[in-house]
Each structure stands twice: as structure tokens, then as C-alpha cells.
Amino acid sequence: MSEAINFHYVVDGDDFTSAGEASVDIKRKLRQLGVDPAIIRRVSIAMYEGEVNMVIHAEGGTVDVNVYEDKIEMILSDEGPGIANVELAMKAGFSTAPDYVRSLGFGAGMGLPNMKSYTDGMEIDTKIGVGTTITMVVNLK
């Protein structure tokens, strides 16, 4: 079988308290599929960071996880403000998160760098005023 399995999640931008729920669910699914625990961990951490970013910086969005035989692909899309300077945003420690978010322990500016380091490939497609789509791939083999 060569078809992918898709898991689709809607990330609610209005409810900060529910951020991270999709990454919890994907863990369960990947376990059911028998994916290696170390890989599950990488996928869920990368996805968690992306999910939180969508809630903090972009009023929510969607996550599509496609599981292929040889790789797991995560596509996070939002219709938020877009990222003005991607190179800068990728720098460890760079953050535009508001104070109330920081007081909750987010906004350390490590999200994007971690997403990159936990995955085997990451692409950011972003346009000011239109939105951001981040595609990440974790290889299974």
C-alpha cells in the first residue's frame, strides 16, 4: 500500500488553553501505527512548537499530518500576519511574543530552531498579511 494516511487537525486560535492537543493526539496515532518511540517524540515536539506558534502568533490554523511508509510529513498552515524576516525568526532566542505569553513560559524564541533540529527537513512559506505554511518532514527509515 503506497497511499498516505492523513490526520487533519484544526487548531483553535481563540483558546490558548487547548494549544498542544493535536500533538498529543498524533502521538497516540503514531503509537498505534507502531512508529519508533524516538521518532514519535521528534514529530510531536516539532508539531507542538508549530501548533503553539499558530496560537500565539497567528490566531490558529490547521495541521495536516501525512504518514507515508517512509516518512511523516507535517503541514501547518495559518492565515496569520506572516513572518517578516524568516532568517531572523529562525535565530535561537528571537521572539516577538507578548509578555503575557512569556509569563506562561512560552516565547523563549526556541520554537522554530527546535522545529528545524527535530526534523529532517523544514520549509517555510510565508507572506505578510496572508499567512504562513510550514512543512516539516521526518524520515522513517
Binding site: 500500500m1 497511499e3 494516511i5 500533538s23 498529543v24 498505534q32 518511540p37 515536539i45 507542538y48 511508509e69
Partner: protein, 427 residues
């Protein structure tokens, strides 16, 4: 098939199939079949949530009957510290320990005293270089089993040191042999007085390595009533208690952590909270922590299903009992003895996995998605499964009948009705 022996059991004749327990089960181990609950042995973690939830008292914790102690020549009572919090106006633990002798035990050995050794060993263990932090306490067996079933990547975080009850049993046995060299191993009965079915399962299963130190597990609520009858405070009790406030503190959530003299810890209690914390650790979100204490029951073991007193009241009583105690009764060496280590801690069981073959798992997953997309997603429970998704999994993986879903059933019945009408028109 799983050969795990559980300590939560169901009385089928009392069960009305009411679904009260269905959604309370944290591992989705319960289904209602043929009008009554069925517990999946592979998934059950003996947390006792279903016992709490059942309005018909159809579920109960299995321990040994008190009479079992008579099988042994020399009977040692090993009370969990929680026991001390069950009594009104108890101002000295010795009354309680004396009571245990009065109801038929030959000696007592406090689990709280052994707990002080485990605290000391934990302090030493946390100083090691090559360990995976945060270290997760191994004291609550329900948590250990939960991690083994659901959090493969956290199995290595579990502290490989035995729980206080186990160490107490080793010590109690040694003490008995020293005092009575004529006793043979099989003459000695080490009887743990347990706050929960989880500890009982821990004793009867040897998942974490062979252990033959505890012989009998008795229900705390049973012992409580026997003690009430003899604890009249008429005579001065023998000075039996050796524990300090650190050991006694283990009965309440946060007690184990506070004995580590460090502030890099987290203590969570109640399964729902615990699961949230485990998810966070699993996501690498709590890197600053050295130690995580997790208790399945609200407030810790004082909230165990076999206790009598309300956990908050018990907690208050424990606080006043601790007041004039020394910090620690035990003063162990600066070395963790080999006997204090588990044989195997990481025994992850991938029970959630659909099949060994990933292609096959993917095929099953897409079939489940198809079945689920035709279900109403209202999680009503009338099919006997806790959620529509769990039901779809049952249909695909376990051959459950899709018509158990009332929505499908309705269509099916309407169709039958039509057929019947047609028939009657025909005739």
C-alpha cells in the same frame, strides 16, 4: 494475551451496564458487553477509577482475606503510613502499631521507616551523572504501569529503585530471622496493609523483576475496623514506632519530594493531572526538573480506594501526627545497596500498536478512519465503547458489530420495518 493478574474485579450480577465507569477509565480498558462491563486485562492499570465511579458497587479491589495470615507461624504487619491518618484523636502512632499486635500479628514493621531509606537512596541516585532526568518516582505502581503502557520514551526515566513497601519487607524478614533464628523462610508471613488495589497487583505480578518479599496484601479498610475494636487507649502501648516525619510524609502527595531537600521537583496527584504532566515531560517541556513524584490518587496515597477517611481530613491528621517527630528515624549509609534496585524497570509493552507490520497498521488505520467517519461522534456510550473512535477501533480490530451503534441500529431497524411492511402488503 496478557497474563497480568489484576486486583480490580467485577461482580457481574451487580453490574447494571450503566456506563458510569466507561468514560472514567483512563486507558479505555472498559467495554459494556451483553449488559455488563468487561475489563480488558491488557490495558487495565488497576487505578481503581471504575471502583470509585460505580454507583452499584459492582467493582471491587481484591486483596487477601485477613484469615490468610494464619497460614504463617510468624506474622508481620507492615502498615503503609496512610493507615495512621485514618483515626480520630490518634496522637501517637504506637497506639496503632500496638493495635496491630493485639489483633494477632507477632511483629510490626513500618513502611514509613523503610521510606526514609528510599529517600536517602533517591538523594544519592539523583547525584549520578549518567541518568535520564527528570527521574520519575517508582512508588505508585499504577503510574509505573501507565508509563509502561503509554509512554515508551519515559520508561527510562522511572527510578530503578524499589518502593518503600518492598524494602520494608526485606528488612522485616531480616529482622525476624535475627530475632528468631529457628524460623524458616516459609514460616514468616510479611503482610502489607494496603491503601489500594494497585499495590496488590504490584505484589502478585513480577513485571519489575522477581520479588518474593511480601506474602500477603491486606485491605486497609478491613484492618481499620479490626483496629478500632482494640484501640481503646486503655493500656500504654509499647514504643514501637521508629519513623520520622519524612517517612510518614510519603502518605501525602509532595511528601516523597520534600524528603529530597531540593526544589527542582514536581509533585502531581490524580490521574488526570498526572497524564498532563507526563505529556509535558514527554514533550521535553520540563527540562529544569530533577525529580517528578506522581500519585494516581488525589492527594496521594491518603486518597487510595481502600482508605476510610476523606483524603483531606487524613492529610490534616497526618500533619498533626508529624508535628513532634524527629526529621528522620533512619540513618542509612551513603551507598545504595544492590537489593534496593529493580531487576528491570523498562518493560514497555506496545499494546497500542495495531500490528507488527507498519503497512498492515496503516491499512487498519485507514479502515478505522472510514468506519469512524460514518459514526455520529457524540460519544454516547450506548455501543458499549467509551468514544465513537474507540468503537471504530473495536469494529476494525476486534470484530465488534457495527450495529451496536444506535444510529446504525436505527437505520437497520427502519429498514427491517420497511421490509416487514412490504411483506404484509404482499400477503
Amino acid at each position: 494475551m496478557s497474563n497480568f493478574i489484576h486486583s480490580v474485579s467485577l461482580n457481574v450480577s451487580k453490574c447494571k451496564g450503566c456506563t458510569s465507569c466507561l468514560r472514567r477509565c483512563p486507558t479505555e480498558a472498559i467495554r459494556i458487553k451483553e449488559g455488563h462491563a468487561v475489563i480488558d486485562s491488557e490495558r487495565c492499570i488497576d487505578c481503581g477509577e471504575c471502583i470509585r465511579a460505580c454507583p452499584h458497587k459492582a467493582k471491587k479491589a481484591v486483596c487477601s482475606p485477613f484469615e490468610k495470615i494464619n497460614e504463617f507461624k510468624y506474622k508481620i504487619a507492615m502498615p503503609a503510613p496512610t493507615l495512621y491518618g485514618q483515626f480520630n484523636n490518634l496522637d501517637d502512632i504506637d497506639y496503632c502499631l500496638q493495635g496491630l499486635l493485639d489483633i494477632g500479628f507477632d511483629d510490626v514493621y513500618e513502611v514509613s521507616y523503610a521510606a526514609e531509606f528510599i529517600s536517602a537512596y533517591t538523594r544519592l541516585y539523583l547525584k549520578k551523572e549518567d541518568i535520564k532526568k527528570p527521574i520519575i518516582s517508582s512508588a505508585c505502581p499504577v503510574i509505573v504501569r501507565l508509563i509502561n503502557l503509554r509512554y515508551p520514551s519515559l520508561c527510562d526515566n522511572i527510578m530503578p529503585i524499589i518502593p518503600p513497601m518492598e524494602l520494608a519487607a526485606i528488612f522485616a524478614r531480616q529482622k525476624a530471622k535475627k530475632k528468631h533464628p529457628e524460623l524458616k523462610d516459609e514460616d514468616i508471613g510479611v503482610c502489607f496493609i494496603s491503601p489500594c488495589p494497585g499495590k496488590s497487583s504490584y505484589v502478585v505480578n513480577d513485571e519489575l523483576g522477581k520479588k518474593e518479599n511480601v506474602d500477603v496484601v491486606l485491605a486497609m479498610n478491613d484492618i481499620y475496623f479490626r483496629l478500632l475494636a482494640v484501640m481503646k487507649g486503655e493500656k500504654t502501648p509499647k514504643p514501637l514506632s521508629k519513623s520520622g516525619l519524612l517517612g510518614i510524609g510519603w502518605a501525602v502527595s509532595g511528601g516523597e519530594s520534600s524528603a529530597l531537600f531540593s526544589d527542582k521537583y514536581l509533585a502531581a496527584d490524580g490521574l488526570e493531572n498526572v497524564i498532563q504532566v507526563l505529556e509535558e515531560i514527554d514533550n521535553g517541556k520540563l527540562p529544569e526538573l530533577d525529580f517528578v513524584e506522581l500519585n494516581a490518587c488525589n492527594s496521594g496515597c491518603v486518597g487510595g480506594i481502600l482508605t476510610v477517611e476523606n483524603p483531606y481530613i487524613a492529610k490534616a491528621k497526618m500533619q498533626s501526627l508529624r508535628k513532634y517527630l524527629p526529621v528522620s528515624g533512619a540513618h542509612p549509609d551513603d551507598k545504595i545497596p544492590n537489593e534496593a534496585y529493580f531487576e528491570n524497570v523498562n518493560c514497555f509493552k506496545p499494546i497500542q500498536q495495531f500490528s507488527d507490520n507498519m503497512q498492515e497498521s496503516m491499512r487498519l488505520m485507514s479502515e478505522i478512519q472510514t468506519v469512524c467517519s460514518n459514526l455520529p461522534e457524540i460519544d454516547c456510550g450506548s455501543c458499549g465503547a467509551p468514544t465513537c473512535l474507540a468503537f471504530a477501533e473495536d469494529v476494525v480490530l476486534k470484530g465488534a458489530d457495527i450495529n451496536n451503534c444506535i444510529i446504525n441500529m436505527k437505520d437497520y431497524l427502519l429498514q427491517k420495518l420497511e421490509e416487514k411492511k412490504d411483506e404484509s402488503y404482499d400477503s
